[in-house]
């Protein structure tokens, strides 16, 4: 059985249907990328997985639980953590306080153990641990957002546009950390506009266009597909 199984998910804002029946699955240990342009419904999809939006119809099965109607805070307890779009770190709290907040659902000794691992993964965060998160660079804030999500010790990590607004060299660093996270056994579902980086990391990918999945394949095949190249990778690739 898949770790995450989404069937015919429809989500609407009032009369506007943002997701028009999405079905996908994520196996334990996999990295799955969802590609799509602005307005394709990527963030809407992520928010329904984390319980911030309630689906109009369809089901979301996670590890045998139907989480479609579960509260967002309860979903964290089940082992799904997310690094939200735009990073959303607490600017007036220090790096360390932000991290500890990520372990809100866990005990302090467990949190301290995970914090050590996060600092090993992102040594930059250790250097800046007493600094206000609001004064960090964009890349450091992204590391913090991912680190904070890891503090919940998730089985499934949701990443919403980790490359957003970052310089290419920083993006490379972030994706290399994601490879380490994957190696530690965490399943990752990543939503990205930067298709090249996402497909290099992922095992499989889905392409989302205005609320529908239009392609679904292995990452290699998507990378090679002329349509994907045309639309998401740019010509001359």
């Amino acid at each position: 059985m898949s770790l995450l199984e989404v069937k015919d998910l429809k989500v609407a804002y009032g009369h506007i249907e943002a997701l028009k029946g999405i079905s996908l699955s994520v196996e334990e240990g996999e990295v799955v990328a969802i590609l799509g342009a602005n307005g394709a419904g990527k963030t809407t999809f992520m928010r329904s997985l984390s319980g911030l939006l309630k689906p109009r119809s369809g089901t979301i099965q996670y590890d045998g639980h139907d989480i479609g109607k579960a509260r967002a805070d309860a979903i964290v307890g089940l082992g799904i953590a997310q690094s939200p779009e735009g990073r959303r770190v607490f600017g007036t709290l220090t790096v360390e306080e932000n991290l500890m907040l990520g372990a809100y659902t866990r005990s302090r000794p467990e949190a301290l153990e995970t914090r050590k691992q996060v600092y090993e993964l992102f040594p930059r965060l250790l250097e800046r641990k007493a600094q206000m998160a609001g004064t960090l660079s964009g890349g450091e804030q992204q590391m913090l957002a991912i680190g904070r999500a890891l503090m919940a010790k998730p089985r499934l990590l949701l990443l919403d546009e980790p490359s957003l607004g970052l310089a290419p060299i920083i993006v490379k660093g972030i994706f290399s950390a994601l490879r380490d996270i994957r190696a530690s056994g965490v399943t990752i579902l990543v939503v990205e506009q930067n298709a090249r980086m996402a497909l290099k990391l992922a095992d499989r990918g889905y392409v989302l266009e205005v609320g529908r999945i239009v392609h679904e394949d292995s990452a290699k095949a998507l990378m090679a597909s002329p349509e994907v190249q045309e639309a998401y990778l740019g010509k001359g690739h």
């Binding site: 953590a81 939200p84 007493a130 919940a152």
Partner: protein, 309 residues
């Protein structure tokens, strides 16, 4: 270290006030200090909802009024001694805080603000129109007993003052604990970024209702003391403009800052009492002061100091 000194300075001020005011001040001053204690408690309770949990509650006088009327009704209709009505007033106000806020806490800041104004207007109309025949209509309720302790009625202004000052002390202690507690931190996370807090596992709805209930309960306690100080209640003390004043105290004084909120309460409630002749100019002067402070110092006069460990 700095934090510790300011806590001790506050404690010293509190003890000095408790000992010296009843001894040396005349009745007028004692009344003013009692009055201050009550409004300081209400302002601190407003701060729980507005300054700490970040919800634009502009109907906070409702909970103050519910506490005051609970005490007045229980005392005059059922002969319940004033101090016994205090816990009841706290519970009733807290319940109303939870019930009224439950359907609106999901609203965004400005929408929530308008909804709370609606509560205040309904509450005031209900009092004036003597709903249920228990509020006494526009005249309110008179002839409330003085509080009694161990069978002795506290008739003197000094006695009332001590009582109010003790409640203020308890609430200050509570606020200080809230500041350093997990609950206080959760309120701060919700204020700063509710979505981020939710994705980390905070049950936003529960804690926002809890903030309202806590703020309302504390305001209810102040209501009991208000009733016993004036020995009467009337709808005029719980109108919308009172809520606006409480809101302004927190914003002008400094959100989530105990000294800031206390200073705000002094400026808005004590100064006009001292300068009675100038009281008519209160809203003019304070209106002007609010504008100047918001432009020059939007974080408030005495903003919350960031504790760095």
């Amino acid at each position: 270290m700095k934090k510790l000194t300011s806590t001790w300075a506050g404690l010293l001020l509190w003890v000095l006030g408790l000992l010296l005011v009843p001894l040396f001040a005349d009745n007028n001053w004692i009344f003013i200090m009692s009055y201050f204690a009550i409004y300081a408690v209400v302002s601190l309770s407003q701060d729980v909802v507005l300054g700490r949990a970040g919800m634009y509650d502009m109907g906070h006088a409702v909970y103050f009024g519910i506490g005051a009327y609970t005490t007045a009704i229980l005392n005059t209709q059922y002969g319940v001694p004033i101090l016994w009505t205090l816990p009841i007033a706290v519970v009733v106000s807290a319940l109303f805080g939870a019930l009224l806020s439950a359907p609106i806490v999901k609203l965004r800041g400005d929408y929530l603000l308008v909804a709370t104004i609606g509560f205040n207007e309904i509450f005031h109309m209900a009092l004036v129109n003597d709903v249920g025949g228990i509020t006494g209509g526009p005249d309110g309720i008179y002839g409330i007993e003085a509080p009694s302790l161990f069978g002795h009625q506290i008739m003197s202004q000094g006695g009332i003052f001590v009582l109010n000052w003790i409640l203020l002390g308890i609430v200050l202690l509570l606020m200080n604990n809230l500041e350093n507690s997990r609950l206080g931190r959760v309120f701060r996370y919700l204020k700063e970024d509710e979505l981020a807090a939710t994705t980390l596992g905070v049950n936003a709805r529960y804690y926002k209702i809890l903030a309202f209930a806590l703020g309302a309960g504390i305001a209810g306690a102040a209501g009991t003391l208000f009733t016993s100080l004036l020995q009467s209640v009337s709808p005029g003390a719980f109108v919308f403009t009172e809520s606006v004043t409480l809101f302004a105290i927190v914003i002008v004084g400094g959100q989530a800052s105990i000294p800031g909120v206390l200073l705000g309460a002094v400026l808005m409630f004590v100064v006009p009492q001292v300068f009675r002749d100038l009281a008519e100019y209160r809203y003019f002067v304070f209106g002007l002061a609010m504008i100047v402070i918001m432009v020059l110092r939007p974080q408030g006069i005495l903003p919350r100091r960031r504790r760095l460990e």
